[in-house]
Structures are given as C-alpha cells and as structure tokens.
Amino acid sequence: MKAVQTITASHTVSPQEELWNSFRQGSRDAFARIYQEQVDNLYHYGVHLCGDEELVRDCLQELFHDLWQSREHLAAQLLNIRYYLLSSLRRRLLRTLERDRRFRAETTEIPFDFELIPSREHAIIQDEKVQEQVKQLHAALNALPRRQREAIYLRFFHELSYQEVADMMSMKVDSVYNIISKAISVLKKTLPPAVLLLLLQPGK
C-alpha cells in the first residue's frame, strides 16, 4: 500500500493527461484541442471501416457530443486518448451498421484498402515490370481477410500497440502478432528485395 502511494505521488503528469484532465474539468479549449488533434485520425478510420463518409461524420458528431456531456463521469487516468476515441467510434459505427444493414447498399470501396506507393515515389516507377509487381503486391495484401487488414491498419497507421489492437478487436495478442507476421511474409514474398529497395526508399 505504501509503495503504491509513493509511486502515484512521484508520477509526473504527461501533456496528454493534463489535456484530458482540464477537459474533464470543463475546459472548452481542451475539448477543442482534443477535437483538432483526433478528428482526422478518427475520420480516416471511420471511412476505412464503413466507406460511408456521411455516416462517419454523423457518428463523430454524436461521439464528441456525448464525450462533452459525460466528461465528469469519464475515467481520470486515460492512457491513450486516441485509443479511447477510436474504440468508441468503432463501437458506434458497428452498432449503426448493424441497425441499418437492411437499408444500406453494399459499398464498392474495399475496407482498409492498402495503398502501397506514396505519391512522392511515383516518379521512380517507370519500369513496366516493376509496376506489374507492385500491382501484385497490392492485390496480395488486399486479399487478406477484412479483420486482418483492420488489425494491420490499426497497428501501422494509428500506431496502436499490439495489446491495444487486440483489446479493441477482442482478439488475443498472439493473433495480432500472427496477422502482422502474415502481412510481412506477403510483402517479402511478393517482391524480391531489390525491387523493394528501389520502390520504398526511406522517406527522408
């Protein structure tokens, strides 16, 4: 008991915790900052998840509305605001989709669509053979089941930890690890190292 208390006392408050706490105490500035910092990421995830931009905007409005109204009841210690909001958005979208499934046409977009070539590297790809290989790689990755693509997306785009991805998607950490492993294998197998090196120059 003693030891625990000392730890809490010497624990320094991170900027994220500070932001979260002033938000909980009703600071509109803090709320606005959370919105500005998170909304792009949330939107990105939402559209990838359901492909319906309008629905995502509606859900985001509801999410931030509820967040403000329930601020006093939210947990004081929040390890990761982004993770909290992403999983909340996920639940809301899935619930809405479940409810409206009958009325909604199938979307044509591929959920968690991989995009392999950042635009700045387009110039390098002139060789037709290389282009063909890139297409194959793209197809191979997008052939992974939807849930697997979502897990890869959450790890590499939103930088959630393996543990967070597992919690959010109700999976075991081992499964997340296996999924990422599978994706890495696909990447390695489809392209010979030389092509990879050519295509994916380090960004900086």
Binding site: Q5, H44, Q61, E159, S161, S181
Partner: protein, 349 residues
C-alpha cells in the same frame, strides 16, 4: 534483453519496439538502434530490409476538408446547446455548497427549531415510538438473506456484519462491515434509509437496489436501479460532499486517503454474487486470493509471485465451502495454492 543479434529482417519488422522506431522515431529509440547497429554492423542489411518492410505498409487517405471539419465542430456545439436548453443540468453538488454558504448558523438554528417542533408534533399525535435494534453477522463462508423490519431485503455476504436501528420514525439506519446487497422498499412517507460504513462515507436512499462493499481499506458502492445519495465527510474538517449515483455507476472510496472516484460499471457483474455467481473479467490469481480471504477468511498464496498476474475471464458458481472453492480456482488458473502462515509476517512491514 531481446536477442536482436539472432533476428532476421522479418523478425525485426515484427518487433514492436523496432516498429516504434520506424514509425515514430524519437531521441530514445533512435539512440538505442543507432548504438545497437554500431555494435552489430553485420545486421545492417537485415535492419534496412526490415525498415522498408514496415514503411511499405500504407493505406489510402481519406481527409475532411477544412470546411467540413469546421462544420462538424459547429454541429457538435449546436447539439450540446440544444441539450442544455432541453434539460438544464441540475448540478446538485455546487448547489448544495452554495446553499450551505448562504445559510449561516442562524438559519440552521431556525431549521433545527422547526424540526424539533415538527418532531414534537409527530410524537404528540402518533403513539410512542419504540426503538428497534437488530444485529446480524455471517461467518466466513456463509451468506444470509435478511428481511428488515421495514420489509427491505438484505443479502449479507460472508464475514460481514450488519446493525439495524430505527431510533426515529422517519429514519432507517444500518451500519455495515463487509459486503451487502440491499433492496430497499420505498415508503409512502419518503422515509430515508441510510447505510453507514464506520468511515467518512454513508449512503442515503429512498427506495432502490444497490450493493455496498466495505472490506478492508476500500469502499465500493454500486447502484442497480433507482437513485442514491452519498455523503462523504472530508477527513480534515467537517465539510460534507454529496454525490448522486445513477444506475450502472460505481463509487470507489479509499479509506486511507479519503480519495474517491465515480465511474461506469456493469452492476449485474458486481452483484453476481447475490445470484451465487462469480463473474470473472480478467480475474487474476491475486483477485482469487483476496476472494478466499474475504469470503472464507482463508489465507493462501502461490510460490511464484509472477503467477499472481495470471488472469482468466468467465464465470463460476460460488460454492460456500473453502476447499471446493479453492479447488475450483486451482482448476481455472491451473495453479497450486499453498497455505500462507500469517504469523511469520507480523513483524515485517
């Protein structure tokens, strides 16, 4: 320490810490990997390959325009404002404290006088009131279902004690040590029902179902239905804070420092014991040891402290026999418990 010197490009690409460095380089991880690479130049090729593997994962971008973001932000505030007009938030806590500041002791005295006169009047017109006191306790490994004189229902968990008194006609009071679930019947005359905890916290209700856990250094109050008011006295000074709980909310109070926090919980899970079930959600071996201690007064331990963190999820029936229960836990966690001899630890701190 990780055996990075044995890693292939694929292993690196899968390693969480390595990914962090590629996705989000900072001073610390850059220093770590630069230093590591200097010590293991033969791994440079594998590391480069791994960097490219991690970097090659991209997703299509979807972006809102600045105007869309602005519009969404306005919509959020519009909906919040619409809420405030529809139902002005009652904000009970500040109202109470303002109340106590405005009304000085003179008013309090006047109110007391009125109350006194009121009581006098009540005693004059009703037959003399008889004080009722009752005390019930449970042994380790035993629960009791009680029907209080006011026909409220109480389920007393193992190793607990409940004292009931009704000294005044309009107040029903109990003192709880341990854990109990209450189903308080609402009375037409709105008489209140108060649960005292022998600490700075008490629970006041009219009619409702709730659970109070008052074992050890912590108190947890969970509301199932209705509404309850919590009175918390500051440890220094006499100021009282009043809080309200809504169904599905839990209040945790720490007796050692008087800190408390309110959060959402699954009330059905917390009160599962009243239906003879133990609901385990990431339930650790340490939780099981605490359970054995609270419910059976049985002190057990495990040899390897790392085992304490093992956890399971699911549910099991609570069997009020310490040996059977312990065996159930051993099966669930696949561990062996041994008896803890507490006398050895008395001198330590």
């Amino acid at each position: 320490m990780q055996q990075y010197h044995l890693y292939t490009a694929r292993d690196f690409a899968l390693d969480e810490y390595f990914q962090e460095w590629v996705l989000r380089p900072d001073v610390k991880n850059t220093y770590y990997w630069d230093t590591w690479l200097k010590l293991h130049p033969e791994k440079k090729e594998a590391v480069n390959m791994a960097i490219q593997l991690v970097r090659s994962i991209h997703f299509r971008d979807y972006l809102m325009t600045a105007a869309q973001k602005e519009q969404l932000w306005e919509n959020i505030w519009d909906s919040i404002a619409a809420d405030d007009i529809a139902s002005p938030t009652p904000a009970p806590v500040p109202a109470v404290s303002r109340f106590s500041r405005i009304f000085s002791w003179k008013y309090a005295a006047a109110v007391l006088l009125f109350a006194f006169l009121g009581m006098l009047w009540l005693f004059m017109r009703t037959p003399p009131f008889r004080t009722v006191t009752a005390s019930v306790a449970t042994q380790p490994g035993q629960t009791k279902r009680l029907l209080l004189p006011d026909s409220s229902e109480v389920l007393l968990n193992a190793g607990s004690r409940l004292l009931y008194t009704q000294k005044e006609p309009l107040v029903r009071e109990v003192w709880l040590d341990g854990e109990a679930w209450f189903h308080v019947k609402h009375k037409e005359d709105n008489r209140s029902f108060i649960v005292h905890t022998y600490d700075h916290l008490s629970v006041e209700v009219l009619g409702t179902r709730f659970n109070v856990n008052n074992f050890g250094n912590k108190i947890a109050v969970v509301l199932q239905e209705g509404s309850i008011k919590l009175n918390i006295t500051e440890q220094q000074g006499q100021q009282t804070t009043q809080l309200y709980l809504r169904p599905g909310e839990i209040l945790r109070y720490d007796k050692t420092d008087g800190e408390y926090s309110k959060s959402k919980t699954d009330a059905e899970k917390v009160t599962a014991w009243t239906r003879g079930q133990l609901v385990m959600d990431e339930y650790t071996v340490a939780d099981a040891i605490l359970f054995m201690q609270q419910v059976f007064d049985r002190h057990v331990t495990v040899k390897d402290p790392r085992v304490l963190r093992y956890s399971v999820s699911g549910s099991m029936p609570i069997i009020y026999n310490a040996d059977t229960m312990l065996m159930q836990f051993e099966k669930a966690f696949n561990v062996r418990f041994s008896k803890r001899d507490d006398t050895n630890h008395v001198g330590e701190n």
